[in-house]
């Protein structure tokens, strides 16, 4: 079964408005919270692509791509969207005038995105259940990528600590507990993003060798 152009176009028709609503859209669209609407559309797009993937026969191309690489690409995409989403809403969290109510709505959308990602990664894992899906190369790549992710997380923590410790007090108006808590979550997502991206890139490099 081949992927047809109209299927790709249909997927793009769902994914692009989702990204627009999440990253650049108005606060409310057609009376609905645009963050939640974007999240629902994005998850729908991810599910649709996964459904299409599951209907493909286990051909040569699929055998060449390890399950861990699929998971890494999905993780990279989701983390990237989540991080950009959080970054574009940064002014809601940082500073003494942070609006707690609006910020909670953003956090809700973010949690939905992370839960959706967790469910999707489980589904991908279930698709390859029963097959031998990990060898020495996979373990080596996972180990190195995990190291990169941990380093990124530690560096994010140190960077935040240094910014707080060495900035003059009059430049720390942004440093509320709500703001720092969200920066910690941002650092966590950065660690995961680096881990997934490193995994995916290592697989690509390994295939080209």
């Amino acid at each position: 079964m081949q992927t047809r152009p109209w299927q790709v176009a249909g997927l793009a028709a769902i994914a692009l408005p989702a990204l627009w609503l999440l990253l650049a859209g108005p606060e409310r669209a057609l009376g609905v919270d645009s963050g939640n609407a974007g999240m629902v559309l994005l998850v729908t797009a991810a599910w649709t692509s996964l459904l299409a993937l599951s209907r493909l026969p286990r051909g040569e191309a699929e055998r060449k791509i390890a399950p861990a690489e699929w998971k890494a690409w999905i993780g990279t995409g989701f983390m990237l969207v989540a991080m950009v989403f959080l970054a574009t809403r940064a002014e809601l969290f940082l500073g003494p005038s942070a609006d707690r109510h609006t910020a909670q709505g953003v956090v809700r959308s973010l949690v939905m995105l992370l839960v959706a990602w967790a469910v999707l990664s489980r589904v991908v894992a279930a698709r390859w259940a029963g097959a031998v899906d990990e060898d020495e190369r996979d373990r080596e790549i996972a180990l190195r990528a995990s190291g990169h992710g941990r380093n990124a997380l530690v560096m994010a923590g140190i960077a935040l600590a240094v910014s707080l410790g060495f900035s003059p007090p009059d430049r720390l108006a942004w440093a509320t507990h709500l703001g720092i808590a969200n920066l910690l979550v941002f650092g966590l997502m950065l660690g995961w993003l680096v881990e997934y991206a490193a995994t995916a890139l290592m697989y690509v490099t390994d295939r080209r060798r």
Partner: protein, 211 residues
């Protein structure tokens, strides 16, 4: 002769650890009496350092087949000790010791370097103690280290999430901008706690492997 020397050294070390534990208990009692959280924390960490020192003494005894600890295993124990000493200072700073004094910034600056170069200390320790034809690490070292690193990563993630949730759930806390070094020290302490847990896991795996 060597055996007697070792016994004598072990006796002195045990005495030193007992003194550290006694000091820790005294500081704990003072902290409770004065109602000072940083004193209580400092006392608990001192007792924990003494306990870790005793565990290290026991763990570094030769295994059943006479195998002595490798350099990597000793490096893990050394890192547990260094990490706990750093947690003692940074944790105290985050709980309000040296409040507002210039020394808190100096300590903070010194410990930023320790946290940032923590893995390099390990490599340096191993390289400095290598003898002729020794290898810096073999397959077993890599496997055990990977397990420790994984645990450290999970602990750091959980600690950061728990801190973030606590800060969001308790909006009544004083603004971090009033005491930025305290918040910064807390963040560095979390990184160090994760490192110490990871190193302790590695040390325990080495010990189990030798038994």
């Amino acid at each position: 002769m060597h055996g007697m020397d070792r016994n004598r050294r072990g006796g002195w070390l045990l005495l030193a650890l007992a003194l550290v534990a006694a000091l820790g208990l005294t500081v704990c009692a003072l902290g409770l009496r004065e109602g000072e959280a940083h004193l209580l924390f400092g006392g608990v960490v001192l007792v924990a350092i003494a306990v870790a020192g005793q565990l290290q003494r026991v763990a570094e005894r030769p295994g059943r087949d006479g195998g002595t600890p490798s350099l990597s295993e000793r490096a893990s124990w050394q890192h547990v000790g260094v990490g706990m000493a750093a947690i003692l200072v940074l944790g105290g700073l985050s709980l309000g010791s040296m409040q507002g004094r210039f020394s808190s910034w100096l300590f903070f600056f010194a410990y930023v370097l320790i946290v940032a170069f923590y893995p390099q200390f390990r490599t340096r320790f191993i390289e400095a103690n290598l003898r002729h034809r020794d290898l810096a690490g073999d397959e077993r070292d890599h496997v055990l280290r990977a397990q420790g690193d994984r645990v450290a990563k999970r602990v750091l993630e959980l600690a950061l999430v728990a801190t973030a949730v606590a800060w969001v759930a308790m909006p009544g806390l004083s603004a971090p901008s009033a005491e930025p070094v305290r918040v910064a020290s807390l963040l560095l302490s979390l990184v160090l706690v994760a490192n110490v847990v990871g190193e302790a896991r590695v040390a325990w795996l080495y010990w189990r492997d030798r038994q």
